[in-house]
Symmetry: C2
Subunit: 129 residues, 2 copies
């Protein structure tokens, strides 16, 4: 019952950055896993619901998933070229969001904060090409 989900989770853990459901599916099939695309979607959703993986949306609307090292609240610094991801904390940002929200009478404040850039490796690769 949970073996499939674990397999998906494991595959995700082996990836550097955020991966789409289709990526994970392709990856697993490559390694000979017998699993269907539907099941991968369901597993990723379940993992995301359970807070065991983080989700975000790419600019073109694809959902991408990542098994993060920490299970505490954090944000991501993502290389827009290779997808390499660094987990970062931003206590100041959390406080700012809370403050901005309550200043305007909003309650149950949540926020999304993602930072994108070109990582060191990728920017040298571009320069030399």
């Amino acid at each position: 019952m949970t073996t499939r989900r674990d397999a998906v989770h494991d595959t995700l853990r082996k990836s550097e950055g955020f991966r789409s459901a289709q990526d994970v599916y392709a990856e697993m099939r490559l390694h000979g896993a017998k699993i269907g695309l539907t099941t991968v979607y369901r597993a990723l959703q379940a993992l995301a619901d359970g807070g065991q993986v983080d989700v975000l949306r790419t600019d073109d609307g694809e959902s991408v998933y990542r098994a993060c090292a920490t299970d505490t609240h954090h944000h991501h610094l993502v290389c827009r070229r290779c997808g390499r991801t660094v987990e970062v904390a931003g206590p100041a940002v959390e406080r700012w969001a809370e403050m901005v929200g309550s200043e305007h009478g909003f309650t149950e404040i949540t926020h999304t904060v993602e930072v994108f850039g070109t990582c060191a490796g990728c920017s040298t690769a571009v320069r030399s090409s």
Copy 2:
């Protein structure tokens, strides 16, 4: 050539919060405008490219657009219930993002920061129901 785009822009300006392309299209047809869905999509894209409207993605992957009051960089505080939106500045957050990025050797840093909450009006509405 630009009349259609202006019509779309106007419709957007009359809305309180973020609206999807389909919303805008329906709204315009309601008011008797003769315009096609394709053109609405194209106009919104052009406006977004030109920085005249802001775009963001809803949780279910829909692109939503908003004609913002200021044309300087800012973020949004969005009511997750009614969509009412407040434009907020966050100079501290900008600096934080830059710093986090360069700390890890990333260049060309960009960031997305959105704050969600339940606005005062909506939270009383919920309480009284």
